[in-house]
Amino acid sequence: MVAVLAVIMVSYPVVVVTLRAISKQEIGSALTFEWISALVDSARSREALLNTLIYTAGATVLAMGLGVLLAFLSTRTDMPGGRVIGFLALLPMLVPPFILVVGWVAIADPAAGFINIAASALTGSRTSWVSINTMAGLIWMTGLFLTPYVYLMVAAGFRNSDAAMEEAARVSGAGRLRLLYSIVLPLQRPALLAALLLVIIMAAGDFIIPATVGLKAKIYMLPSLIWQNHASFPHRPGLAAAQSLLLVVVGLLCIYFQRRALSRGGRYTTVGGKGARPMLFSLGRLRYPLGVLALLFALSSSVIPLLAVGCMAFMRYWSPYALKPENLTLRNFNYMLFEYPQVWPSAQHSLFLGIAGATACVALAIALAWYVIRARGRLAGIVDYAMVLPLGIPGIALGVGILSLWILVPGGIYGTLWILLLAYVTAHIPVAMQFVGSALHRIHTELEDASRVSGQAWAGTLRRIDIPLMAPALIGSWLLMYVVILREVSLVILLYNPSTIVLSVGLMDVWQNGFYPELAVYSLLLLVLGVIPVALLWKFARFS
């Protein structure tokens, strides 16, 4: 029953968006291929597709490279400060994307960025060494933004690696590099593929960076075009739906290749019955230089933009030239925290939705992953494929799909917090499934068999064997859901109403109003709400 409802929950937005792409006007009107052919004929759509592919590939390579390297260095080597670097590497995930955008503009804008101001001071004339308003700049920001997702998905796998296999390889004479390439990395294939899928689709569907710096740099991408066709004149939801379908195709292709790569299932089980902590790789003379490099990266990916935004919060107005004592003020805090009417209601809604949404996602993911991977129910194949569908749909299109159905249901959840909760769970259940599924894949069935032989039913086995073994992945998954829900904008921008405003939407409002100091204070509040549970759970995870 849960499986059937879950399949319906994730499928109808796809169906609604697909129908919208082939309907002349609203769903139910005459069918047409006008929007599909407009998509093919439009030079802007083709340019956006090409840009999206370049952007996605670049950001994916950067995020995967950095995420895997940082995860490996901080969990499997004797690099000093591994835990601190691990926490710093996760920080960008907690930082609202607007902070990253505003922070990087403050650092690397060709005219007003700190780097180029310093360059101009050194050379004595207007000099631009770096520019964030380029494809490379967009890739850099998005790559850094996505790195923690890779880190989170891969680090748990590295920590739980099967020491016995590595020991066997070492006894057989394998060197450190051989061990890395023939045992350690291949065993992480499910986690790596899950991270790769997630990062590709998140990069392809990201709209905040393309719609802010991308628009300024005139680099157009599919999500920003979809957003414009939904929310700007002329309103062309049919064309937006057709453009969404392109992203759906990209998503489904990625899923197909991931599934094919995973189809050789049993080989990736890495938590066997005879557990032992895997050994740490010695970095030798590279120990400290690599530690410094990792720390530098971690600092530049979040701490430096945060410092830039932190400066803004205390200024009467924002300009890098205005960093003088006479321009400092606490008024922005007073105004945003005590006078701005949307702040506290939106914080309450976000907290409720973050906690309830993350918990619902993880609980549903456990039930569905068990059903698909272990119970192998009759609908397992359908559930498995259906649960990844929302990944292929950008948030705004998913919002349209959910809105289009629920607005028609009299007395339904439209206009309440429940429609936002439903949207969050629908959008993020695939990611939770990736986490839980890859963790369940790594648990060898011999442990469950032992539990069953000892008289435990499936529920007892799940509770006593699988959930404790999956705890790092479940905690990681919950944290990810929580912080993603806290800062999600595109999904809920069409679904909220005045009485259900959330922090991220309020933040977008302030961003549109353009007062960076107020935006900075609002962002810092969102950051604090994200950091507190992460810090608590991090501590818990450390002792568990």
Partner: protein
């Protein structure tokens, strides 16, 4: 010089009739409507005005009548899309609307005819059967005073074609801010079809909102830009290095108040409309938004007076119905030459 927030606080004070020189609002609203509105208990406002003025007028209304106002604020295109979706599904949520053209024309079929008693004093030119103009502002040039020194400042739109501003100035994108279409129509009329290609060749940076561009001017991202009067005024109030000029020919924009025909709380919506039309309400929203009121007794001196501006400036009054019909051509030209 007062800060923007000090002005907002002053706006709240106005609700209690504490502002010197402005008469307290006459009790012009129908007492039956006041009574019924209080029973309804709240108002849902959809607004495309900035957060500052929207919140200021909502808070003042709450203080005056004890009726809460839930504010949904978004760009005018977003608001229009939302209303159209809700109306199509017969699930109207909003009672009152504050919006600019051309979105107002798009939403006209969903609005109630309401002749608020508070709008009698407002010039007939600002009144339509189902909406009332309550705030005005204009398109203008703004620049960073640390970068653009006196004597080198631009005076007219065609100064933007000067090579010294190449890649150093900003514009709004008409795909996002539909009011920019009116500016596009005006410059085409003033300078002919060769203006837009030359404008595009000078490589403007594109921004999603007036305030975002004012921020970019102040931070030094760009030297100058095509902004709106309130953007320059509000940013200058923070002490930021920004100044501007209104070219001789410019476009006048306006925010309109209206009530929805299918408002779930029709009396509260009407009472809110009365308040926004009144001298008291218009003073509050225009002081907070640095815009020009249409009520003769309302006072928002920072934004200046339309009569004074009219002595030296020729305002373009766009035909928004024509602009809506012409949008595909205008956007295609923008795509070709600017983007």
């Amino acid at each position: 010089m007062k800060t923007r927030r000090a002005m907002l606080q002053m706006s709240a004070g106005l609700a209690a009739g504490a502002f010197l020189g402005v008469r307290p609002a006459r009790a012009a609203s129908d007492p039956k409507i006041i009574e019924a509105a209080k029973k309804e208990g709240s108002v849902s406002l959809y607004t495309s005005a900035s957060t500052g003025p929207s919140n200021a007028v909502a808070e003042a209304f709450r203080k005056k009548y004890g009726i809460n106002v839930s504010v949904y604020r978004a760009g005018s295109a977003d608001v229009a899309t939302r209303v159209q979706s809700e109306e199509a599904a017969n699930r109207p949520q909003a009672d009152a609307l504050i919006i600019e053209e051309p979105a107002l024309s798009l939403l006209a079929p969903f609005l109630a005819s309401y002749d608020s008693p508070e709008r009698k004093a407002i010039d007939a030119a600002y009144r339509l059967p189902n909406s009332t103009l309550i705030r005005m502002y204009m398109s203008q040039l703004g620049w960073n005073t640390n970068v653009v020194k006196a004597g080198a400042t631009p005076n007219d739109w065609k100064d933007l074609l000067d090579a010294r501003w190449r890649g150093r100035f900003g514009s709004l994108d008409p795909h996002v801010t539909a009011t920019t279409l009116a500016w596009q129509v005006m410059v085409e009329k003033l300078y002919g079809p060769s203006f837009l290609p030359a404008f595009g060749a000078n490589r403007p940076k594109l921004y999603a909102s007036t305030n975002a561009m004012s921020q970019a001017i102040v931070s030094g991202e760009i030297d100058l830009g095509i902004t709106n009067s309130f953007g320059v005024i509000q940013m200058a109030e923070t002490g930021a290095p920004i100044a501007g000029t209104i070219p001789k020919n410019t476009v006048l924009f306006g925010g309109n108040i209206a009530v929805f025909a299918k408002a779930p709380r029709p009396n509260a919506g009407r009472l809110f409309c009365d308040f926004c039309c009144s001298a008291e309400g218009q003073t509050i929203i225009n002081v907070a938004g640095a815009t020009i009121p249409t009520h003769p007794d309302a006072s928002a001196p920072k934004a200046g007076s339309l009569a004074q501006f009219a002595k030296t400036i020729s305002f373009s009054q766009p035909d928004y119905r024509k602009i809506i019909a012409d949008t595909p051509r205008l956007l295609a030209e923008w795509e070709k030459h600017v983007r």
